[in-house]
Amino acid sequence: MLKKVLLFIFILKLSLLSYNYDKLLLKAQTSIFPRLILLDHDISKKTYNNTIILTLVYHPSDIQKVKDIQKCIEKKYKKLDRYKLKVQIKEFKDLDESIKTSALFILKSVDEDIKKSVEIAQKKHIILFSYELDYLKKGALISLYIEDESNIYFNNKANDIYKIEFLDIFYQIVRFKSD
């Protein structure tokens, strides 16, 4: 019984904990990712009433962080080219195929959540951005990483499943990274 109680407390504590994020990396990603959506050749077919919807997907412990990111993107981008931009937030557990979105941006979470997000993005043929470069190994499509200089990484192999056609110019600014 005691073991169960301790395990329950441990799980409860874990669910309350929050992840660590690099401030500059997040700033870079929130600044670059929305613009990359425009390089999806078929983005016009993935808009809703001429609005591009970017969904930030988060673990409940990151609620404050995700709200900050949402505010930051909304402040920077009122519009994306000729489209309006809407930034919405969604918990991993509430994410499903019915979601109206033009792209997903996933923050940190457990493997099951990442896997689920990848499946949904692949089915909907929408871009899946990830904070973690490592998630490209788990099927995410695009990430940004700061090395000596900042690089945008593109999971070209996974795009065989996403089947997203990018404008030629997109390939000039990304580095390929297969999962």
Partner: protein, 687 residues
């Protein structure tokens, strides 16, 4: 006609959209460059830099319960601290010459603050963490800043003046009447930006000692039959602090000004002559350290220029009772005669120094794959004033001004310095970059030095990085080492040569994810002409033979669970740092662990555990070696987003481990004890 119009429409749309997308890609590239600049400036891409750097951010330091710059520096790998009889602290990198102050350099917002007298910066180690945005700790001489050659390591402190935005006020309170209050404030009017920071700090720290250096016979003169050892007594040693600082930074278009008034006052600790002043006396040791720099910095498309002039003022200013009632010493005018100081010996010593300099930095990126940097520096340093007042050395009573006839410091000390540096960062391939440089320094104290540096950074892929570094550098002797005269505790030597260093370093970094990595470094150091005063008359001299040091450093940053953070570092240093080729006064093994547990997004628990292995004594010191220590600090941090406030409670040295700094042989028989467990509560509010 319709077809033609349709064709023109489609064609023009195509042209429009191509241009639009090109603009979009241009804007992305522009944004990436901006991020790169920030990353390079803030060392966020530290692992790709041609040096071995540890970067400590404000947020992390606050969570860990760090209260001062010293607390932050202690976290870095292979960094140790030494302290002396006046509690003047020095940061020791890789076990290199622990009795020398200037082997590491401290820069505050890019300005060197090592003071002229000691070539140290102990006063700035007390700077509150609330003013500090970031600390960059560079091991090895492979970094150069503002035309100042580094030696064993350097520390860059970046305050909130960097972005001139933060408005805040803060308080700290703790035991030993520890009190701190301060603020940061920015103003903007049209093109003029102003940033100020201020703090006031005080505490009443003390420690107890069982006996002072008189017991060791430091002031015995057997030939005259003088034996002062019976005067030795236990004492309460004054380690109090009273300090304040006002920093003002201005920016108007391409012109800038950075200035700081830093007033620092402390108790004379274990005594200027190894005898503590009575605790209730108004003794003091002041080391004010002020600077002002103004310049013009302009960037063009492929070049930039930064011209500046600067002024530093710092001093050593002491006033205390130097020895107890009844002390006997030989008379100054007739050394065969014995003088008895019935009321004790009182002394007041002041040495004021100034440095004025001009420097220019020019960068050029006009040649593909190259980034050239040229710098020169001209500086003039001199002693402005010397005061030596002490109890009459012939009668033993009454204070006499000996500033002209028997000063403690050479009034005519001065130095001219010329430095030229040329470096090139060469991006040979996307994955390989070289940095090579030549540094030439000539000053009135040393022979001209031409020293190279070379580093290679090889990025195998984004997960694996290899660095190789080679550098030569030197340290010009400090004022204290050159010009102290008529003094029992230390004696200058104007014939000292510069200390020299040659290092070989290799580093491998493995990234597991964005925040998880392991870094391993190997180093081999050849030190020559090391300066020390472990001599019978306490005169500073150079070692005659090379000292070699080598070792290993490991750093791991990882999440144990996906939701916490652990940062471990381990270092092993071996070799020699004494004229007798032994490794003394430093720990061979240093292991430091930091763990942060995010109870909630705004509520963290952190702990720092530090292990220092035992320290060997100097060869002529037969005392037992200094015992190893394990210290544990804990911290609780609560952040309230709505009110933009932060509350932190930290307990330093939770288990009250006995920490000591080694005393000089022949002085105190015990080592210098430090205060044990302390707690500090701090509050910061942004507005």
């Amino acid at each position: 006609l319709r077809k033609v119009v349709l064709y023109l429409y489609i064609f023009s749309s195509f042209i429009w959209s191509s241009t639009s997308y090109e603009k979009l890609v241009d804007s992305i590239n522009h944004e990436l460059k901006k991020i790169d600049n920030i990353a390079t400036t803030t060392k966020s891409n530290e692992h790709y830099q041609p040096s071995i750097v540890t970067v400590l951010e404000h947020k992390r330091l606050v969570e860990l319960g760090c209260k001062t710059l010293l607390d932050a520096i202690k976290l870095a790998p292979n960094v140790d601290i030494s302290s002396d009889n006046i509690a003047y602290k020095s940061v020791i990198f890789r076990g290199s010459n622990p009795t020398s102050f200037g082997q590491s350099k401290l820069f505050i917002d890019g300005i060197l603050v090592n003071n002229i007298y000691f070539d140290g910066y102990s006063e700035y180690l007390d700077m509150p963490i609330e003013l500090i945005k970031r600390v960059e700790i560079i091991r090895g001489p492979g970094n150069k800043e503002n035309t100042v050659p580094s030696y064993a390591g350097s520390i860059r402190v970046i305050t909130y003046a960097e972005d001139m935005k933060k408005n805040s006020y803060f308080f700290q309170t703790g035991d030993y009447n520890h009190r701190v209050a301060g603020f940061t404030k920015s103003f903007t009017k049209s093109k003029l930006k102003v940033f100020t920071d201020f703090f006031y700090k005080k505490d009443d720290k003390y420690v107890n000692v069982n006996s002072d250096a008189l017991a060791s016979g430091i002031f015995d003169f057997p030939s005259l039959g003088i034996d002062n050892s019976d005067l030795s007594s236990s004492a309460k040693v004054p380690l109090y602090h009273k300090e304040y600082s006002l920093g003002v930074s201005l920016k108007y278009e391409d012109f800038y000004l950075k200035s700081r008034l830093y007033s620092y006052k402390q108790g004379s600790a274990f005594g200027l002559n190894y005898i503590p002043a009575p605790f209730d006396d108004e003794d003091y040791l002041k080391t004010p350290n002020h600077y002002i720099v103004t310049g013009y910095k302009k960037s063009f498309e492929d070049k930039s220029i930064d011209i500046k002039v600067g002024y530093n003022y710092n001093a050593l200013d002491t006033k205390s009772k130097l020895a107890p009632e009844g002390l006997e010493l030989p008379s100054l005018s007739d050394p065969t005669k014995i003088v008895t100081y019935t009321d004790g010996v009182y002394g007041e010593n002041i040495a004021k120094q100034e440095n004025i300099y001009h420097s220019l930095t020019y960068t050029y990126k006009g040649i593909k794959k190259h980034f050239f940097n040229f710098e020169y520096y001209f500086g003039y340093t001199h002693t402005k004033d010397v005061v030596s007042k002490i109890t009459n050395r012939d009668t033993g009573s009454g204070i006499v001004d000996y500033s002209d006839i028997f000063p403690f410091f050479d009034k005519n000390a001065h130095r001219e310095t010329y430095i030229f540096n040329l470096s090139d960062k060469y991006y040979y391939r996307k994955d390989i970059q070289f940095l090579y440089s030549l540094n030439y320094e000539n000053n009135s104290h040393i022979d001209p030095k031409l020293e190279p540096k070379l580093s290679v950074v090889y990025v195998l892929n984004e997960e694996n990085i290899i660095k190789l570094l080679y550098a030569k550098s030197h340290r010009t002797p400090s004022w204290q080492e050159l010009y102290t005269i008529n003094n029992y505790a230390r004696l200058g030597n104007p014939n000292l040569k510069a200390e020299r260093i040659e290092t070989y370093e290799a580093s491998y970094i493995k990234h597991f994810s964005n925040d998880n990595y392991i870094q391993s470094s190997l180093f081999y150091i050849i030190n020559s002409n090391q300066i020390h005063n472990n001599t019978p008359d306490n005169m500073y001299i150079n070692t005659q033979e090379d000292n070699k040091l080598y070792g290993l450093e490991l750093e791991l940053k990882s999440n144990l669970t996906p939701k916490d953070m652990i940062h471990l570092n381990f270092s092993y240093t071996d070799g020699e740092n004494t004229p007798e080729h032994t490794l003394a006064l430093v720990s061979k093994v240093l292991a430091k662990g930091q763990y942060t547990y995010n109870i909630k997004e705004n509520f963290t628990f952190s702990t720092i555990v530090t292990y220092e292995s035992s320290k060997e004594r100097l060869p002529d010191d037969d005392r037992d070696k200094i015992k190893p220590t394990i210290t544990t600090d804990i911290s609780l941090n609560y952040k309230q987003y709505k009110t933009k406030s932060n509350i932190n409670l930290s307990i330093k040295n939770l288990f009250n481990e006995k920490e000591v700094y080694p005393s000089k042989p022949g002085t105190y028989q015990e080592d210098y004890p430090q205060v044990g467990r302390t707690f500090v509560l701090s509050y910061t509010k942004r507005f």
